[in-house]
Amino acid sequence: MIDLIYLTVLLPLLGFLFNGLVGPKIKSEKLIGIVGSGAIGLSFIIVVGAFFETLALPVDQRLNIVTLFQWIAVAGLNISFSYQVDQLSLVMSLIVTGVGFIIHVYSIGYMHGDKSFWRFFAYLNLFIFAMMNLVLADNFLLLFLGWEGVGLCSYLLIGFWYDRKFEKSTTSAAGLKAFVVNRIGDFGFLLGMFLIYSTFGTLVFTDVFSRAVSFAVPEHIFVLIAIFLFIGATGKSAQIPLLVWLPDAMAGPTPVSALIHAATMVTAGVYMVARCSIIYASAPAAMMVVAVIGVVTAFFAATIGLVQNDIKKVLAYSTVSQLGYMFLALGAGAFSAGIFHVMTHAFFKALLFLGAGSVIHSMHEQQDIRHYGGLKKYMPLTYGTFLVAAVAISGIPPLSGFFSKDEILWYSFTNLGFIFWLIGLLTAIMTAFYMFRLYFMTFEGKEKFDHHKVHPHESPKLMTVPLVVLAVLSAIGGFIGIPEIFSGEHGNLFHSWLAPVFKTSEMKLLQFGSHSHFEELLLMIISVVAAAGAIFYARYVYLKKPEVAAKTSSKFKGIYNLLLNKYFLDETYEATIINPIVKGSESFLWKIADNKIIDGLINNLAKLIDIISGSIKKIQTGIAQPYALVMVLGILIALFWIIISYS
């Protein structure tokens, strides 16, 4: 099955071609949905097969490369379409195809009746194709191909309902914003790739990473490479300063938000940093940058999520915050913990988004949670699965979120220090609070909608079965990553599966002093108690005494306004960066450089030719005698010539 790994990339591409080319003519939604989901389902089966096959191999033989064909062979640069099947890429592939398949099935129900049903599935398949290229690539260039491809599909899918308005502008504008901000990050990524090539002479992962250890490269080169690559990651994974596109990306259909902006595309940055762990481990300054940005973003986004009133916006800021956690883990040197959180986050965040989609669907596209309330008796399955996801993300044991989040908090305490752990803890408290605020305002309490206009109902099976599957995964998914204090040495299955990938990097990192099991247990208890406390406080505020919320927000009006308007981040960017560039382009580049200089050059050249020819044409008088005179003059000169040459 390992040899067939390229099929996991090819099948989604075929699905895209089928749905894209033949889709408009097919009237049956079922056929389109089956082709679209079936392609991903088959890919998932192949990945599972490859996984078990790799599992059966001895540990040092678990890295296999499957080459399709050579792409570039120019002057020392040899790039081929090859796929690297190792522990890390298998984990990512399982997440992408598994969660992807579930979301495809859900979409068949969610997008029912949409006039561009076929286009949706075509784009989704194209996205999976690009994402699989990204996670399976064995060289930076192919990874970048996938990187750009997922950016493209994100743009296409955010602006899927291109004729709809979204906030102050259109959905296409939101898609464009995502694309452009991503592009800024990609510029950094490209610079990193150039630096890698000029330092190591190759772009293939295995060669680069082995040379990173064997070549004598000064540390500041590693720092530069790491920072540039990280800039690309901040763009793709919506960290500070390039996070502004993710909340706007909520303009797209909810399955898109679930798949792309929660489970897969935004984790591409995390994957990339984890893949290049050796480079980051060789540049401790860069690791600190990653950790700082990660933890600050996590805190920052969580504060904004506390006051948002659109259900998808809350989830969007929650995603940014959780991605911050993943980068915090990477910055602390706990690479496998970061990937573990990617996996658990994929489960519960996708579940949260799909559940939100189910609610939005039944409330007739209403997204403001102030108009929800008491939905639990109308949509029992959605309510139940949403609750499971909320508990998981808050980090309550024994659900999956607890294991992954706690591992991150523990490693940030041991490797980075108390302050990082503290900020992480505060963020976890806020996470639990806003998540349960969302839950209580939506499913419990008084009904705040007009019963005569809106009839909430449970969603069809096509939508609820995926919810149940994801709920089960969110609940039990953490058990493969039980920390050592409970499971003994090598008991953390996830960690030991990924350990060979990160072995060299972890050896390079400074070893901090050892900490006792007691400390770990103590911190664990503190975080669980704090999270539980936040949940009960949320219950108190939003269920029992709703006036408390209103009073607090009016008392701290300034802060409330700041948070509600997301710290005016978009406006700041607009004023300081975008407007000057637009004004400068308009007044200088357009009016002067383009109109006056370039156009002027061409036009004046033509005018010059016109003037010259205007004066030359007067020679042609139409009368024969002047012509004859010129001939005689010529004869004169010719005779001179003869005389001179003769004598």
Binding site: L633, L636, L639, Y646
Partner: protein, 171 residues
């Protein structure tokens, strides 16, 4: 002072003078008549050079046919008389005369530069022999038959061309 030299001086001066007079007369009929005089003196020069056939052909064709044709056309079109030679565009004409005089000087210089007298000696008997009608006829119809036929075609084309160009349009 042989007869040859006297005749040469006579005919040559008539040629030169009539040529100059031809281009300066304002009346076109006068120009045509002076040209006839020029052709006739040229025929005389040809005779001195023992080119009998050509001399007679000159009189018949040039002076007798072509110039008559010219005079017909002049009478038909009745153009107005020009002004006197140096009365209009005087500066341009003086400039032209200067340039052409320069060309004449150059040609004369080249003639003397090539010193033909040292290379060519004239045998009177032979030149008499070459100018006779029999000689010309014999050469033309044996060695130069192709140009002869071509000239025939040319004249045919010219005839038809002149007819077509000058006739009145169909009504």
């Amino acid at each position: 002072m042989t007869l040859e030299i006297v005749l040469f001086i006579l005919f040559a001066s008539i040629c030169a003078v009539s040529a100059v007079l031809m281009i300066t007369r304002p009346n076109p009929v006068l120009s045509a008549l002076f040209l006839v005089l020029n052709f006739c003196s040229l025929a005389g020069l040809y005779l001195i050079l023992n080119a009998q056939f050509i001399a007679v052909a000159q009189i018949i064709v040039y002076a007798g046919a072509i110039m008559v044709f010219f005079l017909f056309v002049i009478m038909l079109l009745n153009p107005e008389k020009e002004k006197k030679f140096f009365e209009q565009k005087a500066k341009l004409r003086i400039f032209i005369i200067a340039i052409v005089a320069l060309v004449l000087v150059q040609i004369v210089y080249i003639i003397f530069l090539s010193r033909p007298s040292e290379v060519i000696t004239r045998e009177v008997a032979r030149s008499v022999e070459t100018g006779t009608v029999e000689n010309i006829g014999r050469e033309m119809f044996t060695n130069y038959i192709l140009p002869f036929e071509a000239a025939g075609y040319l004249l045919l084309a010219a005839t038809i061309g002149a007819l077509v160009i000058a006739k009145k349009k169909f009504e």
